[in-house]
């Protein structure tokens, strides 16, 4: 398999060094000023580092890369960044790319709470610190019967959860996306209940395939794909892979999700990719691979049955769809 070449970034889009430096200086001075103005106690704590700097360092050099898409060709990065479902920006596939600049990602923090011993709200740079990033090439199958192959960059969700020491009562993990109707035009209409909520069973969350992704195609995550940090669960329909995560809550009882609340007949808790269980209104047996003509057969658990089928042993997947 030939190595994927990242499309070159045109010279015109590169920020001139002077501007970049100016901005750094401006930020540093601003930070210094803020520190000086703050209470004397603050002078002894270092100014907050932006997560962008932490991530930029982590993205330097060659990351370990694993393809878990059977060598299938990567989706064109242009398609992967212009054909998106991210209703916070609007319901058309082109809306997220058009309105993505309105998403405010700095500063960013993630609240980790509920059934964990180390609960709190953590700056993204602290969430990222110490995590070994890697590239994972996964198929992504949308419930709307289209699919892509994406080279994500991230780390296993399990690594994050372990740090916060889930208690024995932690049986489910609930995720919440950002809520910011001032900037996210889609949230001004209640198409679904905002903020967007998703959830996994704890064993699904701890599974080594389950990623917290902070980048794709070698770069940090574009806003329209769920910047700065999102979930990726490759054997489930795409809507499970919640974007722009601000809260992770561990709970004892099975929670509901935004899509279940929107239409419980059509969206179940598990939402595992399954060609044999159709969506009530359309078939799930085949999928359109973006960039290809015709249709592909959809694979059980999106092709990850060997890794995850045992999680659902003995369950009636027609009932637990």
């Amino acid at each position: 398999m030939s190595r994927y070449r990242y499309p070159p970034i045109p010279e015109s889009e590169v920020t001139p060094w002077e501007l970049f430096e100016q901005r750094r200086r401006f930020l540093k001075r601003g930070a210094a000023l803020a520190v000086a103005a703050a209470a004397p106690g603050l002078l002894f704590t270092p100014p907050a580092r932006a997560w962008q700097a932490t991530l930029a360092r982590q993205l330097e050099g060659e990351l370990p890369s694993r393809s878990l898409a059977d060598g299938e060709a990567l989706t064109d990065v242009k398609d992967a960044t212009t054909y998106n479902n991210f209703y916070e920006f609007g319901t058309r596939k082109s809306d997220p790319e058009v309105y993505a600049h309105r998403l405010v990602t700095a500063p960013w923090s993630v609240a980790i709470e509920g059934e964990v011993e180390k609960a709190g709200t953590f700056a993204l740079e602290d969430v990222l610190a110490g995590q070994d990033l890697e590239e994972r090439i996964y198929r992504l199958r949308c419930v709307e019967a289209w699919s892509m192959v994406i080279p994500w960059i991230g780390f296993p969700l399990a690594e994050l959860l372990k740090r916060h020491a889930p208690t024995s009562r932690a049986r489910y993990v609930v995720f919440e996306s950002i809520l910011d109707p001032d900037n996210l035009r889609g949230q001004r209409r209640s198409i679904i209940e905002w903020p967007y909520r998703e959830a996994l069973r704890i064993d699904e969350a701890m599974h080594p395939l389950t990623l917290m992704a902070v980048g794709m195609y070698g770069e940090r995550m574009p806003n329209q794909n769920g910047a700065p940090i999102r979930l990726v669960v490759p054997w489930k329909y795409g809507f499970k892979s919640i974007k722009s995560v601000v809260k992770i809550r561990l709970v004892e009882e099975q929670p509901t999700t935004s899509w279940i609340d929107q239409n419980p007949e059509e969206y179940g808790f598990y939402a595992n990719v399954n060609p044999e269980v159709d969506h009530p209104r359309w078939s799930q047996a085949r999928e359109r691979r973006i960039g290809e003509n015709g249709r592909r057969e959809t694979l059980m658990f999106n092709g990850y049955a060997d890794e995850v089928a045992e999680l659902y042993a003995g369950m009636d997947l027609n009932k637990h769809f």
Partner: protein
């Protein structure tokens, strides 16, 4: 000053030109690759929406004529109706060819299994006799009363088309609601007109 028939012909040509604009737009977008990541899907959506919009416009012509009395509306009606039919046939062909890649077993299976495909197919089927009898000679041969009764099928076809769109919509019902509301208003007008206006036909 050109005589009346010449002016009508010129007007018809103008409508023809205007009616072909969506096709020009679509061809332009296709040619320059502006239809996004999934051009096939964009074409299927565009043809379907344009067809349904024009179908509702055709239905709106009769009340518009009643309100304004401008005869141009009635001269343009058949053409716009035929454009609607053209776009809906294009919609079906785009779905079969661009979307399903002429995979006949699957096309058949989807037509059997999926209600929204059935509603869409039924709508198009109902429009076939309307398109075939849209010419003045047919209108005369059938007699006006029979012709008008037959052409009321356009309301049924439009309702099936809106249902088709409604079923396949995911979460955001703004567009199908707009279409449904427009059709409801037009239907109320039609029924109200028939009840109040007696035997007048339009």
């Amino acid at each position: 000053m050109p005589d009346a028939s010449q002016r009508i012909l010129a007007f018809r040509l103008l409508v023809l030109l205007a009616g072909s604009l969506p096709a020009v737009w679509l061809a332009w977008q296709w040619y320059f690759g502006d239809l996004g990541a999934v051009p096939a899907e964009a074409v299927v959506h565009f043809t379907g929406r344009t067809g349904l919009i024009l179908l509702l416009v055709t239905i709106a012509f009769s009340p518009a004529f009643r309100l304004t009395g401008w005869v141009g509306i009635m001269i343009a009606r058949r053409q716009i109706g035929l454009w609607a039919f053209f776009w809906l046939v294009a919609h079906m062909l785009a779905w079969m060819g661009l979307d399903q890649f002429w995979d006949w077993p699957w096309i058949r299976r989807e037509m059997v299994d999926l209600p929204y495909i059935r509603y869409g197919a039924a709508a198009l089927l109902l429009l076939v006799p309307l398109a075939l009898t849209s010419f003045r000679r047919m209108q005369k041969a059938m007699g006006y009363t029979a012709w008008h009764w037959l052409h009321r099928l356009v309301y049924v076809a439009a309702a099936l088309g809106v249902t088709h769109l409604w079923i396949l919509t995911r979460a955001d019902y703004r567009m199908p609601m707009l279409f449904a509301a427009a059709l409801a208003v037009l239907t109320v007008f039609r029924v109200g007109d028939a009840l109040l206006g007696g035997k007048r036909d339009a």
